[in-house]
C-alpha cells in the first residue's frame, strides 16, 4: 500500500496527486488529513505521474502540505452477507444502527457487471400491489424496473411504502426482501420509511442504506450501487425476490452534475453530463431475472421531476431506460385523490408478459385498453366542454365525461391501506365501463362483455337502474 504526500491541487471534490506509480483506474484511496481524519475517494483519471482522486465527502480541511493520500490497491467493494437484512447502514455501507459489524461472506465490486442479455429470462410473474391504477393499467412484473415520476409535494413516499407493504406474487410463499436506498432525502422522509417498515414488520426483511440530505453529495453516487450489489447478491446467490426501492434519483443526478462540473467536463443538456444516460443505465439495468436462478431483482425508483417537467433530462433519460413509469399528477392531488396516479402518461412495458388468463384474468388486457381509451376521450371532452358547455355535447360524449369523473373518483382513488385484489380491481373497471354505451366498447371482446358486464348486470339489477334514470 502506497502513501503519497504529493497533493498538488484541490478543486471541489477533486484532489490531484503527483508522482504516483502503480495506481489503477477506479482504485479506492484514503485521504489522511493533518488532523488525522480519514476520507475515502476514488481514482477518476490516472496517467504515469498524476492521479485525479474524487473524494467522497467534502474536501474541506485537505491541504497540499499536511495531507497525504493512501492508495488501497482495490476498487470499491462491499462486503455481503444475508445478515444485512434487518439492518440499517450509512450511504457508504457502514452499519448505522447499534448492531454488530457485518462479517462478509464475500466481497463484490459495487459497480457490478452487466447481465448477459442472452442469460436473462423474460420477466413473467404478476406482482399484485393492491393499487388499482398499477395492477390493472400499468402492471408490475417481477424483474421489472418501474420508476415513480413524481413532483415535489406529492405523496410518492406513501405510495412507495404502500407498494412495499402490499406487493406480493399470488399463490406463492417465496422468500421476499426489500433493499432500500435513500439518496439525499431528508431525515423526515427517511424516518417515515423507517417507521412504516418497523410498524409493518418489513424491517426484518430489509437492508436499508441511508444517504441523507446533509451527507456528502458525492456519496450519493455510491449508495444506490451498494444497495443494488446487495440486491443482486440476495437475488442471485440466495434465491430471494428482492424489491429495490431507490429514492430520490433526482438527487443522484444532481450529484452527478456537480462532479462533472468540478471535473470541468463539457456539459450536455441543462448542465448534466453527456454520459448521464449510460451512467443511469448502469443503475437501472441492474434489475431482472436470470435463467436458472430463482431470485429476481425488481426496481422501484422514485424521482421528482424538476419543474413538473416530464421532458427534463432526469425523467426523460430515465424513461428511455426503465420499463415504463408511474406518473403522479398535481391536479389529481389537488382534487384530493390518493394515489394521484395519472394513468395516461404512465406505462408498464412488461405488462403484457404478466397478465392474461393464467396470470390475472382473461379480460385484463381488454378492460385496461378500454379504460385507457375511454378515459383519454373523457379528458379531451372535459376541455371541450369547458369551452362549449356540457349542453353542446352529444349524449354519448356526456357519458364519456361522466366516465372520466367516476374513473378518478372510484378507480384511481383508494386508501393508503386499501389492498385491492386484481379481481376486485377489474370488476370495478367493468362497473365503470357499464356507464358507456355498449357499441363504444370496441377494445373488449364480445364474450367478455357478455360474461363480465351482463353477468354482473343480472346479479345487480338495482345499481344498474340508476344511470338510466340520470340520463334525463
Amino acid at each position: 500500500m502506497k502513501e503519497y504526500k504529493t497533493i498538488n491541487q484541490i478543486a471541489g471534490p477533486l484532489v490531484f496527486v503527483e508522482g504516483v506509480s502503480g495506481v489503477s483506474y477506479g482504485e479506492i484511496v484514503e485521504v489522511i488529513l493533518g488532523s488525522g481524519e480519514r476520507k475515502k475517494g476514488q481514482v477518476l483519471d490516472v496517467s504515469e505521474s498524476i492521479a485525479v482522486v474524487q473524494v467522497f465527502g467534502t474536501t474541506a480541511g485537505i491541504s497540499t502540505s499536511h495531507s497525504s493520500v493512501k492508495f488501497l490497491g482495490e476498487t470499491m467493494r462491499v462486503g455481503l452477507s444475508t445478515d444485512m437484512l434487518g439492518r440499517v447502514f450509512t450511504g457508504m455501507g457502514e452499519p448505522k444502527d447499534k448492531g454488530p459489524r457485518i462479517v462478509p461472506e464475500k466481497k463484490l465490486d459495487i459497480n457490478g457487471l452487466p447481465i448477459n442479455p442472452y442469460s436473462r429470462a423474460t420477466p413473467a410473474d404478476f406482482i399484485q400491489t393492491g393499487v388499482s391504477t398499477i395492477d390493472a393499467m400499468n402492471t408490475l412484473v417481477r424483474g421489472q424496473k418501474l420508476p415513480i415520476f413524481s413532483v415535489s409535494g406529492l405523496p410518492h413516499n406513501q405510495l412507495a411504502a404502500q407498494i412495499a407493504r402490499q406487493a406480493k406474487v399470488r399463490g406463492t410463499e417465496e422468500e421476499f426482501a426489500v433493499v432500500f436506498a435513500a439518496v439525499g432525502i431528508t431525515h423526515e422522509e427517511a424516518s417515515f420509511f423507517m417507521r412504516d417498515f418497523e410498524r409493518t414488520g418489513a424491517l426484518e426483511k430489509s437492508a436499508i442504506f441511508l444517504n441523507l440530505a446533509d451527507d456528502p453529495s458525492v456519496e450519493r453516487i455510491i449508495t444506490p450501487r451498494i444497495a443494488l450489489t446487495v440486491a443482486e447478491y440476495l437475488a442471485f446467490e440466495h434465491d430471494m425476490h428482492v424489491l429495490a426501492i431507490i429514492t430520490d434519483m433526482t438527487n443522484y443526478c444532481e450529484s452527478l452534475r456537480e462532479i462533472a462540473a468540478a471535473r470541468q467536463e463539457v456539459p450536455g443538456r441543462r448542465g448534466y453530463p453527456g454520459y448521464m444516460y449510460t451512467d443511469l443505465s448502469t443503475i437501472y439495468e441492474r434489475a431482472g431475472r436470470v435463467k436458472g436462478k430463482k431470485g429476481t431483482v425488481t426496481q422501484l425508483s422514485i424521482l421528482t421531476m424538476p419543474g413538473d417537467d416530464l421532458t427534463h433530462p432526469i425523467p426523460d433519460l430515465t424513461g428511455y431506460i426503465t420499463e415504463g413509469q408511474i406518473v403522479l399528477a398535481r391536479d389529481l392531488h389537488r382534487k384530493n385523490i390518493y394515489p394521484p396516479v395519472d394513468v395516461l402518461p404512465s406505462l408498464s412495458r412488461l405488462m403484457s408478459l404478466g397478465i392474461g388468463p393464467d396470470k390475472t384474468r382473461e379480460d385484463h388486457k381488454g378492460v385496461s385498453d378500454q379504460m385507457y381509451a375511454a378515459y383519454a376521450t373523457g379528458r379531451d371532452l372535459r376541455s371541450l366542454s369547458a369551452v362549449v358547455g356540457e349542453e353542446a355535447l352529444t349524449e354519448t360524449d356526456r357519458k364519456f365525461l361522466r366516465f372520466a369523473d367516476e374513473f378518478e373518483n372510484k378507480f384511481v382513488r383508494q386508501g393508503p391501506y386499501e389492498d385491492r385484489s386484481i379481481e376486485r380491481t377489474l370488476d370495478l373497471g367493468w362497473e365503470l365501463l357499464s356507464l358507456l354505451p355498449e357499441e363504444e366498447l370496441k377494445r373488449v371482446k364480445k364474450e367478455h362483455i357478455a360474461k363480465y358486464l351482463h353477468g354482473k348486470k343480472k346479479e345487480e339489477q338495482k345499481p344498474e337502474a340508476k344511470p338510466a334514470k340520470e340520463k334525463k
Binding site: P117, Y118, E323, L350
Partner: protein, 583 residues
C-alpha cells in the same frame, strides 16, 4: 508480432498508449494484462489514443498494449444466423458458457463456431475462372437460409471439393495473380468499410411490412431508409419489432444499441416461437441479433451499428433482401458524444461531435438495393429502419434532424396517440414517405389500379379532419354542416378501423396488401355512399346509425384466408345505404 506499447493514461473508456509499434488509425489493440479489446481512434506523436470496448476499472499505467495491426473486423461465414452477438461480434452464448450470467471482461471467443462441420456443396470446378463475389459453393446454414460462400478473390480455381468442413478447414485453393491462396468458408471484413457491389438500383419495389399505416400511407422501399423518432413510451420498440417480424425480407438483422436488456431478451425468447409465414419455420432461423445493452461498454455500442450493417451487407451480397433494425441510433450518437468528450474534442451542437452528420449519413448510405458483385445476376437489398430517441420527444435536436436529412421515410411516433392506445402510434399528419410516388407503378400492377387514388383520397380526408377538429373544439360538432360531419364519421373509421392495428392479435398483427386494399375500399365505399346520401337529403342521424358500421369495425378480424368476405361487406354497405335512401 510487433513490440508492445505501454499504457500511459486511463480516463474511463479512453486510454493513452505510448510507443505502440506501427500504430495505424482504427487498428485493434489488446490492452493490459487481460487483453481488453480496444481500437486506436487518434494518434498524436508517439501516443495512440485508444477506445476500449470493455470496462477499464483496475487498469494501471505501465501495463502492456499489443497492436494486432488489423482494423476492427467481423467474421463472415456460416453460423451467423440464429446467433446473438455483442457490439464487436462476440457471441453472447459462448460468453455465458465462459463467464456465467454476468459478462466478465477480457473474454476472447471466436464469432463463428469453430467446431461445427458444415455441409459444403461446391458450385465451381477446378480450372474455372472466378470473379470476386462469385458463388464458390453453398451451405444450408439454417432450415430457411441457403448460405452462399462468395469468392473473396478473382482468379483461377485450382481445386475445390464438396464435403463437411469447419470454417477453419480449407475448401480448396485458388490462383490469384500467380500466387496460390487457400479458400475457406469464411472471410474477414473491416466493419468501417462498406462491402462493394456492382451498381445501386432505384427504389421501385416496396418493403411489404404488413403494417397498414406504413404500407398504405408511408411505404418503405426495398433498399430504403426510414427513421422512427418518438419520445419514450410511444411504441418505437414495438413498431420496430413488428416491422422485423412481418416484413417480406429473407434476413433480419436486429441491433439493440444501448437499449434495455429485457427487450433483447423478449426478442430472443419470442423469435424462436414466431413462425415465418411462408415456411412455418421459426423466425430466428433467418435472424441475427446484435445486443449491446445500455449498461454494456459504451465504445462497443459505437461499433455495434457497423458490425450489424456489415453482416447485413454480407447477406445482401448473396442476393437476399435484408431488413436492418437499429434501436436506437440516438444511443449510438450518444456513444460518439461520450467518446468525443473524453478526447476533449471541440463539441458541435448540444455537445455532439461535429462529425455526427457525416457519420449518420455514411451509415444510412450503406442501405440500398443493388446488383451484387459476381458474374451471375444477383440482386440484394438492405433496408435500414432506425429508431431515434429524441430527448423530451422534441425532434429539433441534432440526431433527429441529421437523420431526417438522410432518411426517406419519416414515421413520427406520437405519445398522445400511444396514451389513448392508438397503436401503431404513428402520426399520419406528421409522417412522410418520399418513396410513395416511385412505388405507385408497382402498386398499380400488383395490388390494384385504384389503390393509389383511394389512398390519396383517404389522406386528404384525414388532413381535412384535423382542420375540422379545430372548429369542433370551438363550437362543438353539431354546428358543422352534414357533409363535414360525414367526413368526421369516415375519418374516425379510418383511424380506428384502418390505421390502428393490434400487434398482439393473431389475425390483425399483419395485413397483406390485398387485405389493406379491401379494407380501404370498404371505408371509401362507405364514404361515397354516405356523401351521396347527404346529397339526396337523407337525415344525418340515419347515416350515422347505419348498422354496417359495426361490421366495418370488426373487419380487421377477417383473416387472410377469408378475404372474399370483403365483397359481402361492400355489398352490405351498398344495401344499407339503399335502405336508408328509400325511407
Amino acid at each position: 508480432m510487433a513490440k508492445k506499447g505501454t499504457l500511459k493514461r486511463i480516463s474511463g473508456p479512453v486510454v493513452e498508449v505510448k510507443d505502440l509499434d506501427d500504430a495505424k488509425l482504427y487498428d485493434v489493440v489488446r490492452v493490459g494484462e487481460e487483453g481488453l479489446v480496444g481500437e486506436i481512434i487518434k494518434i498524436v506523436g508517439g501516443t495512440s489514443v485508444v477506445q476500449v470496448y470493455e470496462d477499464t476499472n483496475g487498469l494501471k499505467p505501465g501495463e502492456p498494449v499489443e497492436n494486432t495491426g488489423q482494423p476492427l473486423s467481423v467474421e463472415l461465414g456460416p453460423g451467423i444466423l440464429r446467433n446473438i452477438y455483442d457490439g464487436i461480434q462476440r457471441p453472447l452464448k459462448d460468453i455465458e458458457a465462459k463467464s456465467g450470467y454476468f459478462i466478465r471482461r477480457g473474454i476472447n471467443v471466436p464469432p463463428l463456431p469453430r467446431d461445427v462441420k458444415w455441409d459444403f456443396k461446391a458450385k465451381v470446378k477446378p480450372g474455372e475462372h472466378v470473379k470476386m463475389g462469385d458463388v464458390l459453393g453453398e451451405v444450408q446454414e439454417t432450415e430457411l437460409i441457403l448460405h452462399k460462400v462468395l469468392s473473396p478473390y478473382e482468379g483461377k480455381i485450382l481445386n475445390v471439393k464438396s464435403g463437411k468442413y469447419t470454417v477453419e478447414q480449407e475448401i480448396g485453393e485458388i490462383e490469384v495473380a500467380g500466387k496460390k491462396k487457400d479458400l475457406y468458408m469464411y472471410q474477414k471484413w473491416f466493419v468501417r468499410t462498406p462491402r462493394p457491389y456492382t451498381e445501386k438500383l432505384a427504389p421501385l419495389i416496396p418493403l411489404v411490412t404488413g403494417q397498414r399505416v406504413v404500407d398504405t400511407f408511408f411505404p418503405i422501399s426495398k433498399g430504403g431508409t426510414a427513421s422512427i423518432p418518438g419520445p419514450f413510451g410511444s411504441g418505437k420498440t414495438v413498431t420496430q419489432q413488428s416491422l422485423a417480424k412481418y416484413s417480406d425480407t429473407e434476413i433480419v438483422v436486429y441491433i439493440g444499441c444501448g437499449e434495455r436488456g429485457n427487450e433483447m431478451t423478449e426478442v430472443l425468447t419470442e423469435f424462436p416461437h414466431l413462425k415465418d409465414d411462408k415456411s412455418g419455420k421459426p423466425l430466428m432461423e433467418r435472424t441475427v441479433l446484435i445486443a449491446n445493452t445500455s449498461n454494456m461498454p459504451v465504445a462497443a455500442r459505437e461499433a455495434s451499428i457497423y458490425t450489424g450493417v456489415t453482416l447485413a451487407e454480407y447477406y445482401r451480397d448473396m442476393g437476399y433482401n435484408v431488413a436492418l433494425m437499429a434501436d436506437s441510433t440516438s444511443r449510438w450518437a450518444e456513444a460518439l458524444r461520450e467518446i468525443g468528450g473524453r478526447l476533449e474534442e471541440m463539441p458541435g451542437e448540444e455537445g455532439y461531435p461535429a462529425y455526427l452528420a457525416r457519420r449518420l449519413a455514411e451509415f444510412y448510405e450503406r442501405a440500398g438495393r443493388v446488383r451484387t458483385l459476381g458474374s451471375d445476376e444477383r440482386y440484394g437489398s438492405i433496408s435500414i429502419i432506425g429508431a431515434v430517441s429524441p430527448p423530451g420527444g422534441d425532434i429539433s435536436e441534432p440526431v433527429s434532424q441529421n437523420t431526417l436529412r438522410v432518411t426517406k421515410v419519416f414515421l413520427a411516433l406520437d405519445a398522445s396517440l400511444a396514451q389513448r392506445r392508438h397503436f401503431p402510434a404513428i402520426n399520419w399528419l406528421k409522417s412522410y414517405s418520399l418513396y410513395k410516388d416511385s412505388l405507385d407503378e408497382w402498386l398499380r400492377a400488383n395490388v390494384s389500379d385504384e389503390f393509389p387514388g383511394m389512398r390519396d383520397k383517404a389522406m386528404e380526408l384525414l388532413q381535412k379532419e384535423s382542420e375540422l377538429q379545430e372548429i369542433v373544439q370551438l363550437v362543438g360538432p353539431d354546428a358543422l354542416p352534414d357533409r363535414e360531419q360525414v367526413i368526421l364519421l369516415v375519418t374516425k373509421m379510418l383511424r380506428e378501423d384502418f390505421l390502428q392495428q393490434n400487434a398482439y392479435s393473431d389475425v390483425d398483427a399483419k395485413a397483406s396488401f390485398k387485405k389493406q386494399n379491401l379494407m380501404l375500399k370498404s371505408i371509401m365505399t362507405f364514404h361515397d355512399k354516405a356523401m351521396h346520401a347527404v346529397d339526396i337529403g337523407v337525415q344525418l342521424k340515419r347515416i350515422q346509425g347505419v348498422p354496417v358500421t359495426a361490421a366495418i369495425g370488426r373487419m380487421k378480424e377477417i383473416s387472410e384466408a377469408e378475404l372474399p368476405k370483403f365483397s359481402e361487406l361492400i355489398k352490405e354497405i351498398e344495401s344499407d345505404f339503399a335502405q336508408v335512401a328509400k325511407k
